[in-house]
């Protein structure tokens, strides 16, 4: 057993874990945050995408011990004060999901993408999300949702800047 300290969604979590434990299992089973899903367990589907120190990772490809001393953000922390994040709003409005199993991973990956590129083109969105699979499949609407979220976020940033 190894002891780890991982900041998950702003809360410090200490736990004794087996060295073989994957970060995704730490999030789901130790932290009780089941919004991060498991689709393939072999880093192919992206359902388990979370942010590690702000960058998207497939949490089935990271060991919990590798995240020791780092901070992780999951889908559960994206909304603030009960207000959905623009990405979450847009995924809902644009019907970018059917079964929704891929959705948390898609949204987390998209949030990383928008963090580094505030107004991605269709092509950049497709490239940015190409590690995430949807079987139902919402791709068409997901691209639309990310675009709409990017517009919303820019408007909000502009509005906040104007207030100052």
């Amino acid at each position: 057993m190894k002891s780890v300290e991982i900041v998950v969604n702003g809360v410090e979590r200490r736990a004794q874990v087996e060295p073989r434990m994957l970060l995704v299992h730490f999030l789901r089973d130790v932290a009780g945050l089941t919004g991060t899903h498991i689709g393939c367990e072999t880093s192919l589907c992206g359902a388990c995408t979370a942010l590690l120190d702000g960058r998207a990772v497939k949490s089935c490809t990271v060991l919990a011990v590798q995240a020791d001393g780092h901070s992780v953000t999951t889908i559960e922390a994206l909304a603030s004060e009960g207000q959905l994040h623009p990405l979450q709003e847009s995924f809902w409005e644009e019907h970018a999901l059917q079964c929704g199993f891929c959705t948390p991973g898609m949204i987390m990956c998209a949030s990383d993408l928008l963090g580094s590129n505030a107004s991605p083109s269709d092509r950049e969105i497709r490239e940015g999300l190409s590690g995430n699979l949807c079987r139902c499949t919402g791709y068409q609407n997901i691209v639309g949702a990310v675009k709409s979220a990017s517009r919303k976020m820019k408007r909000r940033t502009a509005a906040t800047a104007a207030k100052k």
């Binding site: 359902a47 809902w92 019907h95 929704g100 609407n141």
Partner: protein, 791 residues
């Protein structure tokens, strides 16, 4: 009083609009709980040891070492000595431990000895020497016909003709009824001649030749003929949430399950019967099954499956503690879903003007150890006057067949629409014209014609089409292809209860499920429409066997069922409410209507009371009404059956690399009265992408040497990704001529045509048919080489 009918177009407030799904917020915020996400207190991790051989007999199982590992709470042998295993990955031993790691360690400590038997996994090679089957049907043959969705009249006549080698017990009859098998089939079985079973069983079963008209003469006198080889391999469902279950016994008599399923209410019967059969007697009424969300099914999640029983058995052994078993991706792809394959040599005869006169097909395919039946060919063009068909069913160790969206139709579409496309090429005609010419041979010529013309407009087919083989210079060749399809989609049996509470809140409860299609939202739209309330005023509770029984979500039957049930329940509840408030408004109840959150007198301004006020007159318990589908006592039938759709594909093929890219797809689809346009269109988008996926990438590739699947992971079992989506155009046929038919399901139809349309577009681009899906680069290059290079 309100009637049981759909409102006219000008009176609709919600039906037919675009509404965002009610469960959107929980799904986008990670709060939606799937089976995989349920972690009840004291949960044990279940795991399954699977057979590594494609065909073997279990000789011995030694679990003693595993049982001694600290943390292991229960071990259950599922298939012990003497059992014959028919596919790799089949379940042998299940166990439960305090965590996944220990469960995995314990699996490794189990010793199983097998007697390895010969296996057979080649379904693509035509079985040339198979003899025709005439002997009696075994029970397996019957189950096979059911699982391959052979039309019931055909089952009845086969049973009568060949006889049966098994007894038709009361139990069997009961089971068939529970799976909605028609009474005609049951009668045919009960009166079928009993014969002793066949002694030897070859993997090949050749059906009798099925002849209509005089095909020999028709081919002899034909003005034109064409001939081709076509095929669709076994593919898997690959749901993003694997199959799985949580089971626990709150007390010795009661079992609670959470199965990841498309058939919530079907679980108790199946589980009770199976558990009773293995010595754990329980009645279905003592089993409660629940599910809020499911991560995909596509036809593969109807059965309780052996792992559900295993979880119940393990839980029992572990003193009732909850046990969760989720399949890992390898198991999911190896055992939890295989769509049967279909291959055929097809010959067509026609007049010079393209009118088809005769069909001849020699087909074969597999759905696993039970073989595979002939898809419904000729597809849609069923009235071709002269036909000869013969099919060879191949029993293989590929894995068990499961229904996959629109069972047998995508295969039938490829075998038929590609043959017609080849005929058009042979005649030097535009396939668009040949399809139009032959529409009288289909059951809904008018619908197809309207749809093809609409598709032409959206694809600019007539303007852009060129004869087979893109003559332009350079390695990129472009082509167009089309296909048409059909499906039934009448609402299944089901029911729900609607309560209007005295405080004005409205709640609906039904045992149905939401596969992701937006069932909850559709129900709320129908109820909101009926009661004149906004969507957010309706609470919809589903996914629990404590609610009224509803059917499984398969065959595009859910939307018809839930919309009709909820419409009837809401109508009845509203009528009770109107009767209560009529005296206050001083008119007869039939003078009242519910609209915009009020109850008001029709055709008069001003005389109304608010919904809330009206409900307060209901007394302490409010009103509860039960709605069901079908309900002959409350006509008319609000659902209907039978739709058509047309699709066109525009592809580019790189003749140097063999890579196919879809540039654009057009889908034109009817489905009767649309409840939610947003989710309806989304079904079509999803189906097109899924179609591109099976047309270009998907195949369960079997290793002839080991008999195992070579690509049991998502790296090599490739699904279409973002990079593969073209421009997609979806057009729903709505309005007069469509709406008044009532509600018809949409999950299956749009996924039928993409394979055929894309295959035809590739042939149009490169000038030669690539016979089998998926159209991978190596197959494109092989077809080009055979033809002697690109144009």
């Amino acid at each position: 009083m309100a009637d049981y009918k759909w409102p006219d177009a000008q009176h609709r407030t919600l039906i037919g609009t675009r509404q965002s799904r009610l469960d959107g917020p929980v799904k986008v915020s990670g709060r939606a709980k799937y089976t995989y996400d349920q972690n009840p207190k004291g949960l044990l991790a279940g795991a399954i040891l699977r057979c590594p051989h494609a065909h073997a007999k279990v000789v011995s199982v030694d679990t003693s070492a595993a049982e001694k590992i600290p943390g292991v709470k229960a071990v259950q042998v599922l298939q012990g000595p003497g059992k014959e295993v028919h596919w790799a990955g089949d379940e042998i031993v299940a166990l439960a431990a305090i965590n996944e790691g220990i469960a995995e360690d314990a699996l490794r400590a189990i010793k199983v000895q097998y007697e390895v038997l010969p296996h057979f996994v080649d379904d693509a090679t035509e079985p040339k020497s198979a003899a025709e089957e005439t002997g009696p049907l075994a029970l397996d043959d019957l189950i096979n016909m059911f699982s391959n969705q052979v039309p019931e009249p055909q089952i009845s006549s086969t049973v009568q003709k060949r006889g049966i080698s098994f007894p038709v017990t009361d139990d069997l009859v009961k089971r068939m009824r529970s799976f909605n098998v028609g009474e005609n089939v049951i009668k045919a079985l009960q009166s079928a001649p009993q014969k002793s079973p066949e002694s030897t069983r070859s993997p090949f079963k050749k059906s009798a030749v099925n002849v209509t008209g005089d095909p020999d003469q028709a081919f002899k006198t034909a003005e034109a003929t064409s001939e081709g080889l076509y095929g669709v391999p076994v593919i898997t469902h690959c749901c993003l949430e694997a199959h799985g279950v949580i089971a626990h016994w709150p007390d010795a008599e009661h079992l609670e399950t959470q199965v990841s399923t498309q058939n919530v209410c079907g679980m108790p019967d199946q589980i009770a019967q199976a558990l009773t059969g293995i010595g754990i007697p329980i009645s279905a009424s003592n089993i409660r099954n629940r599910q809020q969300h499911v991560g995909g099914g596509f036809g593969s999640k109807f059965a309780a499956d052996r792992w559900s029983l295993a979880a119940a058995q393990l839980s029992k052994k572990a003193g009732g503690a909850p046990v969760k078993i989720m399949l890992d991706r390898r198991a999911e792809l190896e055992v939890a879903g295989a769509r049967p394959s279909a291959y055929a040599h097809v010959k067509l005869a026609a007049k010079k003007d393209g009118a088809i006169t005769a069909w001849d097909s020699q087909s074969w395919g597999t759905g696993g150890p039970l073989g595979g039946n002939m898809p419904p060919i000729p597809y849609i063009f069923t009235e071709i006057p002269h036909q000869r068909k013969q099919h060879i069913s191949i029993a293989t160790n590929i894995g068990p067949a499961r229904a996959w969206r629109a069972p047998n139709h995508p295969q039938a579409a490829v075998l038929t629409m590609c043959a017609i496309d080849d005929l058009a090429a042979r005649l030097g005609m535009d396939p668009f014209d040949v399809f139009l010419k032959n529409l009288p041979l289909t059951p809904r010529a008018n619908v197809y014609e309207a749809e093809l013309r609409k598709a032409d407009e959206l694809m600019q087919w007539k303007k852009r089409w060129h004869p087979r083989g893109d003559e332009s210079s350079g390695p990129m060749k472009r082509g167009l292809g089309l296909s048409i399809h059909t499906w039934g989609g009448r609402g299944h049996q089901g029911a729900g209860d609607l309560t209007i509470h005295p405080d004005g809140t409205v709640e609906y409860r039904s045992g149905t499920q939401d596969l992701g299609t937006g069932t909850r939202t559709a129900i709320a739209m129908v109820i909101g429409e009926t009661l004149g309330l906004p969507l957010n005023a309706i609470t919809v509770k589903i996914g629990d066997t404590n609610f009224p029984h509803d059917g499984g979500s398969g065959g595009s039957t859910t939307i018809g069922a839930v919309s009709a049930e909820s419409r009837r329940a809401a109508t009845d509840a509203l009528n009770e409410l109107l009767a209560k408030v009529a005296p206050t408004l001083g008119v007869a109840p039939d003078q009242l209507e519910a609209l915009y959150g009020t109850i008001r007198v029709k055709d008069t301004q001003g005389k109304s009371i608010t919904w809330k006020k009206a409900c307060s007159m209901l007394g302490a318990t409010g009103v509860t009404a039960h709605g069901q589908n079908p309900d002959p006592s409350k006509p008319p039938d609000l659902t209907n059956s039978g739709v058509g759709g047309a699709q066109m594909a525009d592809v580019s093929v790189d003749v140097e690399t063999g890579i196919v890219r879809v540039n654009k797809m057009v889908a034109v689809q009817d489905c009767g009265l649309i409840i939610n346009l947003k989710t309806a269109e989304s079904q079509c988008y999803g189906a097109l992408i899924m179609g591109i996926s099976y047309a270009l990438f998907e195949e369960k590739i079997m290793d002839p040497t080991t008999g195992r699947m070579l690509n049991p992971n998502m790296q090599f079992y490739r699904l279409a990704g973002y990079g593969d989506i073209p421009e997609l155009v979806v057009h729903m046929m709505t309005g007069p001529g469509y709406d008044e038919r009532g509600v018809i399901g949409l999950g299956e139809p749009p996924v039928v045509s993409p394979g055929a349309a894309i295959s035809n577009a590739v042939a149009n681009a490169i000038g030669v048919r690539v016979p089998f899906l998926p159209i991978t680069p190596d197959r494109v290059l092989a077809a080009l080489e055979k033809k002697g290079g690109a144009a």
